[in-house]
């Protein structure tokens, strides 16, 4: 497997993955607001209308319920729609379609709903309360959906492919901050990252950080800093939130005995709470310290830079938390 000569951005990786899938399978099509002529609010689908035409790149009305419902309708009769919410925050307008129609359909009828819903999520971009949400926790609780959240370009490309090929509905959380801030090498060729498999992004034996999305980047930076003091931090990138890779989580806890769960989403009832419960139940005897979590404040995402910076985790906060846990 050869590597591309240069690293590409997370955004380019998603674009590439989507494009490759649309070339590979005619039933794959894209729909959403401003995805066609405009190339998408974030330019993920730039050039797609020109290449694939208006039957495969559809500019829809403004209406998340219609977009999600229509995606489902086309999926149950055999197409593979990739619908986009312009900002993850707007998914709430289509919440009913997602949780009552999409999620429950296979359970009730044994008919697959092979659709993907792309959700540009996350903060750190001064977007304020309605353009910065990480909504995964709402849907984490809905059986019937699958959730993925890549942190690197390679994972972004591999997971969009996996999501499209999966017969179940997949929510794809792409982080807006990472679009251009995450650059990396992406393997050439048709490489699919399996859904439900975490990846150890950095191996360590003293403390583990279980995280996803922007958390992976903070954790890796913190691990570099901690290494200078001789503390080896393991960073486990969940990559998939539903299903969670329980085995990998428990493996990292067994290896280290101390675990910090980290995510950008707010603290209470976030995905991290479930990870903590799993660890407490299934890795109890391997714990040498309390299971700790670090996440954003339990507030809406604030707008002013000083407020948002206080709201969010960051590398220094991760280092501080690791030091406290390490000293236990």
């Amino acid at each position: 497997m050869s590597r591309l000569p240069e690293p590409i951005t997370y955004l380019e990786a998603i674009s590439d993955g989507l494009r490759e899938e649309m070339r590979r399978d005619e039933s794959v099509f894209v729909l959403g607001e401003d995805v066609g002529a405009y190339g998408g609010a974030f330019k993920v689908t730039k050039g797609f209308l020109e290449e694939f035409g208006e039957r495969r790149v559809i500019d829809t009305v403004l209406g998340e319920a219609a977009i999600i419902g229509a995606a489902m309708g086309s999926a149950i009769v055999g197409m593979r729609p990739v619908a986009e919410m312009q900002f993850a925050d707007f998914v709430t307008n289509g919440f009913n379609q997602l949780v009552n129609n999409v999620a429950k359909f296979h359970y009730r009828t044994n008919i697959a709903v092979p659709m993907v819903l792309r959700l540009p999520s996350g903060g750190g971009i001064r977007g304020g309360p309605f353009h910065s949400t990480n909504p995964e926790a709402w849907f984490f609780h809905v059986p019937g959906l699958k959730l993925v959240a890549p942190s690197t370009p390679a994972d972004a490309k591999g997971l969009i492919k996996a999501a499209i090929r999966d017969p179940d509905p997949v929510l794809y959380f792409e982080h807006k901050y990472l679009y251009r801030h995450s650059k990396g090498e992406v393997p050439d060729g048709d490489v699919v990252v399996p859904i439900g498999k975490a990846e150890v992004k950095r191996s360590g034996s003293d403390i583990a950080v279980v995280t996803y999305g922007t958390g992976v980047h903070w954790a890796l930076e913190a691990a570099e800093i901690m290494a200078k003091d001789g503390v080896q931090v393991e960073v486990l990138d969940l990559r998939s939130l539903l299903p969670l890779d329980k085995q990998a989580i428990i493996g990292s806890v067994r290896k280290t005995g101390k675990v910090l769960i980290l995510h950008e989403d707010t603290l209470t009832g976030g995905v991290g709470a479930e990870v903590a419960a799993i660890i407490a139940q299934e890795a109890f005897e391997y714990l040498d310290g309390p299971v700790r979590r670090l996440a954003s404040l339990d507030t809406p995402v604030p707008y002013a830079p000083t407020l948002e910076d206080y709201f969010l985790p960051n590398t220094q906060k991760v280092v501080d938390a690791l030091k406290i846990l390490g000293a236990y």
Binding site: G257, F284, E285, Y286, L287, D288, G289, A327, Y328
Partner: protein, 447 residues
């Protein structure tokens, strides 16, 4: 490939030499890391020394029976492993004070940094630490001795792993500073044990002057082991140093016996070992020593050194001789803690797994010769202490209570004391205090 020097370990502070008793490997033989390479004797105890690395033994530099100074190179191993001079035995730093003097680099850095703190009562052990302890066969009493650098002084995974490392590389048992008691003491178990046969562990001497003077089959000559040599030396010295006086008191142990029998099952189920009289007796002694600090002291010239800690030595008979492991800070332990410590030290004394620190620093000693059937004993003081309590067998006897005859469990306790500072009044009061504590024991107490 690199060469590793094997040096004579310093198995206790202030030790200056050790004697090679037996080599387990010859030059040219392969040896695995942690496999026994040789046996040495220092002071009075033999220790097995594990090889510091895997490889081939290339040189044996001193023969058996040779005594060499500590840190002398005594053998060489050629190994694949990447290592320089590796020291054997627990780092001296594992003892109470931080390593002083030119100690060889300790294999594990952690324990060297802090003084060993007494295990705090109610120290927290995390699930992982307990899991590892269970897997490595470390009983709670031993766990409680491990220094903790975690929050609140707790033993963290790292602390436990360092301890295990040290234990592997270190000597299983270390020499005691103090000598054994005058009579073969027993393990702290209720009656019935025969004394171990020391003769079987001694070497035969077949040649030399004595062999000619005392030929077989009428005679057999045995080489006194270092343990015996040290014991004889110590006993002679003790008798020459301290003017011994002994007082015997009768103790009605009925209540204690009742409590012991009542709690036997639940105690054993909980702790994994039998409940004997020893914890009861030690508990009473500790309390009494607090009231009579002079009994817990030593003498230097014309000064009395009062000791603020109570380190109880419990005499244990092993197949190699007597050994007196010490319960440090016994006054900080509750009943159960004493029980565990007694059981743990006794077990490890017999399996040669004591550390040097555990045989040093006693301030008072107890011996239980009652297990052998002795009713009244007359112990020789364990220098440099000034008193020694011996307990005889506890039997049912007819006694007079309130002008009637009753059947009670009676034992005779002997206090041997140094009349340079402890006179009959003091000795008698102290022992009476111990006796009264035991006679008035609340047998409804749950232990």
């Amino acid at each position: 490939m690199s060469k590793i020097d094997v040096v004579m370990p310093q198995l206790g502070e202030s030790l200056t030499e050790g004697t090679i008793i037996k080599w387990h490997k010859k030059p040219g033989e392969k040896v695995k890391k942690d496999e026994t390479l040789l046996e040495i004797s220092t002071d009075k105890v033999d220790s097995e020394i594990p090889a510091p690395a895997s490889g081939v033994v290339t040189k044996i530099l001193f023969p058996e029976q040779k005594t060499v100074e500590v840190r002398t190179v005594i053998a060489e191993i050629e190994t694949d492993e990447d290592s320089a001079v590796v020291v054997l035995g627990p780092a001296p730093a594992a003892a109470k004070q931080p390593a002083k003097g030119p100690a060889p680099p300790p294999p594990a850095p952690v324990a060297a940094q802090r003084p060993v703190s007494a295990p705090a009562p109610g120290r927290f052990y995390s699930p992982l630490v307990l899991t590892i302890a269970r897997e490595e066969g470390i009983p709670m009493a031993e766990l409680e001795q491990i220094p903790g650098t975690g929050e609140g002084g707790r033993v963290s995974k790292k602390d436990l792993q360092s301890y295990l490392e040290q234990r592997k590389q270190g000597a299983p048992a270390a020499p005691a500073r103090s000598a054994p008691p005058s009579q073969p003491a027993q393990p702290a178990q209720p009656a019935g044990r025969a004394a171990p046969r020391i003769e079987s562990t001694l070497k035969h001497v077949d040649s030399g002057e004595l062999a000619a003077k005392y030929p077989p089959p009428k005679y057999e000559i045995l080489q006194m082991s270092n343990v015996l040599l040290k014991m004889s030396e110590h006993m002679m010295k003790s008798v020459q140093t301290s003017p011994h006086v002994w007082g015997v008191h009768e103790c009605d142990m009925t209540r204690v016996d009742t409590a012991r029998r009542r709690n036997a099952e639940s105690f054993e189920r909980r702790e994994g070992f039998k409940l004997t009289f020893m914890p009861f007796i030690c508990d009473a002694i500790v309390k009494a020593l607090k009231q009579f600090p002079l009994v817990n002291s030593s003498i230097e010239g014309d000064k009395i050194i009062l000791k603020k800690m109570i380190n109880l030595g419990i005499a244990v008979a092993t197949e190699n001789g007597l050994i007196v492991p010490v319960i440090k800070d016994a006054d900080e332990k509750n009943f159960t803690g004493l029980g565990r410590a007694i059981n743990d030290l006794g077990t490890r004394a017999r399996t040669k797994k004591l550390t040097p620190a555990e045989i040093e620093g006693g301030t008072f000693t107890i011996t239980n010769y009652g297990v052998f059937g002795t009713v009244i004993g007359v112990p020789i003081i364990n220098q440099p202490q000034v008193a020694f309590l011996g307990t005889g067998s506890i039997e049912k006897r007819a006694v007079v209570i309130n002008d009637g005859i009753a059947v009670r469990s009676i034992g005779y306790f002997t206090l041997g004391f140094d009349h340079r500072i402890v006179d009959g009044a003091l000795g008698g009061s102290f022992l009476e205090t111990v006796v009264k504590l035991l006679e008035n024991f609340d047998d409804n107490q749950v232990v």
